[in-house]
């Protein structure tokens, strides 16, 4: 947020690393969804089409694991960055302008719901509104649990030496339902709230080029704008 260009009035909302991670998570997640659901719903014509296109069930499974490595690799890079940010750059991971969930998010949610039902006043969202925090935390925590159950299914021989074999059944169930929740949320809810709703339609470019404008911050994240103004001149704490 420190790079303030007075001529164009643009601000950096997402760093290069964050854009890169979003892009690769997006591609990996899409690949995971396509290959995974083609395996799960393999009796459907479209699943047979996908399997045929990639060359059979074996390749489908291989691609699923390939995408899983990419996606989880993004999670690990992100965790390393968080550690670096926290311990080397001495940044804050829990401040009001970060993705850390706070009580204000619940109040914002209630106020936002009131807005849906006619209240003209929008809550003062900080740098990350509650739905953005939910999008982030859902995928950050979800990727870890999906990764764990996925490893169970990848190496059943190894894990059945630690736990009884029917835990593989349980891992299958958890993996499937979490996948359904994740796909239903990411491809519909995240896409609509981040890109397709009338205020933003057709596309929100800031996650791809990192840039946002002064007007946008003032309109969508008034809390962040206030904090920025309050800290004018001082070193603004670097968010996630």
């Amino acid at each position: 947020m420190a790079t303030h260009n007075p001529e164009k009035e643009t601000f950096v909302r997402f760093s290069v690393l964050q854009r890169f991670l979003h892009l690769f998570t997006m591609l990996g997640f899409t690949g995971l969804a396509i290959t995974g659901f083609s395996l799960k719903f393999s009796s459907q014509w479209w699943a047979c089409g996908v399997a045929w296109f990639v060359g059979g069930a074996g390749h489908l499974a291989y691609l699923h694991r390939f995408c899983a490595v990419i996606t989880y690799g993004c999670v690990m890079v992100h965790v390393l960055w968080l550690l670096y940010f926290k311990f080397v750059l001495k940044g804050s991971l829990t401040g009001p302008q970060t993705l850390f969930p706070r009580g204000k998010d619940l109040r914002d949610l209630v106020a936002h719901m009131k807005y849906f039902f006619g209240n003209p006043k929008l809550p003062e969202f900080n740098r990350f509104a509650y739905w953005e925090k939910f999008d982030y935390l859902a995928i950050f925590l979800g990727m870890n649990t999906m990764g764990l159950t996925g490893l169970f299914l990848w190496f059943p021989e190894f894990f059945s030496t630690i736990l009884p074999g029917y835990f593989i059944n349980i891992a299958q169930v958890l993996h499937l339902y979490e996948a359904i929740i994740a796909v239903a949320l990411k491809f519909v809810v995240h896409l609509s709230s981040a890109h397709l709703r009338p205020e933003i339609f057709p596309v929100e470019k800031s996650i791809f080029n990192g840039r946002t404008t002064r007007e946008k911050i003032m309109k969508e994240h008034p809390g962040e704008w206030k904090a920025l103004m309050a800290a004018e001149g001082a070193v603004v704490e670097k968010p996630l």
Partner: protein, 288 residues
């Protein structure tokens, strides 16, 4: 360049209808058709594995010993199930190994038990609950030879599944069945790869199950065989209390996850829907 790539990309899908039609084309019926059991379609017979045989090679000794050839004028003629009357020990002449394995297996034992019953119930043919003999799974007149592993395996799923309905359904819910039957992966296991074709082992014994697993998963340890392949509450032996509990646990977790999915997804879909409506409303109002 862009156009060429686009055209190539488009044409890459042209094989798709063939791929799908190859998958959905009618499978070679291996299950003996009940209505034709006394009458042989000689055109189809000529195409079958036994097509070069003469009738006598299998049916010559019908009136040997104390056996009597059915009288075609008799009122009871052709009313009995042909596969139950035929003496399948004749198959042994050529299919010795298969026959011996069958005699050792669970199906043969079940058939013996049925025959021991006084009410000749075994004459009613193979249905769920009744024991099968050779002709109940194999069509002597129409079964074809030189089928690929995939064709044999898919046929087996249909044939075994015609009695073991719950097992077929749960197998197709399992990754093995999805990869093998639905997606045509030859490296995945079909029914007979674990249970054996003729001996038909139930695999309730954990040691036997582990041996079966290890054919493909050589590193499998003791706990591996506790994986429940057929997650179905149906057709579990009464004494298999442990399996009953595991299936129940898996189903309870499935139900909890399903409820969770409906709640979470439902809430956020409603949230997004209302949000979009509200913003549309705001836009329309402002444009007035």
């Amino acid at each position: 360049m862009k156009k060429i790539i686009l055209v190539l990309w488009f044409f890459s899908f042209c094989g798709y209808p063939f791929a799908v039609s190859a998958k959905t084309q009618p499978r070679i019926p291996a299950i003996p058709e009940k209505e034709s059991s006394w009458f042989v379609n000689l055109n189809r017979f000529a195409d079958s594995a036994h097509g070069t045989f003469s009738c006598e090679q299998c049916h010559a000794d019908m009136d040997k010993g104390d056996k009597v050839h059915p009288v075609s004028e008799s009122s009871t003629s052709l009313t009995k199930n042909a596969t139950r009357l035929y003496d399948y020990s004749r198959c042994k002449t050529c299919h010795r190994k298969s026959y011996e394995n069958y005699i050792l297996g669970a199906h043969a034992r079940a058939l013996q038990k049925e025959k021991a019953k006084p009410d000749n119930q075994h004459l009613s043919g193979a249905e769920p609950g009744n024991a099968p003999t050779c002709g109940d799974c194999h069509s002597a007149h129409y079964a074809r030879s030189h089928l690929s592993r995939l064709e044999t395996g898919r046929n087996a799923t249909e044939v075994c599944g015609s009695c073991h309905l719950a097992q077929k359904a749960s197998y197709l819910e399992n990754y093995h069945g999805k990869a093998a039957v639905n997606l045509g992966n030859e490296r995945s296991a079909f029914c007979t790869d674990c249970h054996g074709a003729h001996q038909c082992v139930s695999l309730k014994d954990k040691e036997a199950a582990l041996t079966a697993c290890r054919r493909c998963h050589p590193e499998a340890g003791q706990g591996f065989a506790e994986f429940v392949i057929h997650v179905t509450p149906k057709e579990i032996a009464i004494d298999a209390k442990q399996k009953r509990e595991r299936v129940a646990l898996i189903r309870v977790i499935t139900a909890i996850m399903a409820i969770l999915a409906v709640l979470v997804v439902g809430f956020f879909y409603g949230h997004t829907f209302l949000w979009i409506l509200r913003e549309l409303h705001e836009r329309l109002r402002r444009h007035k």
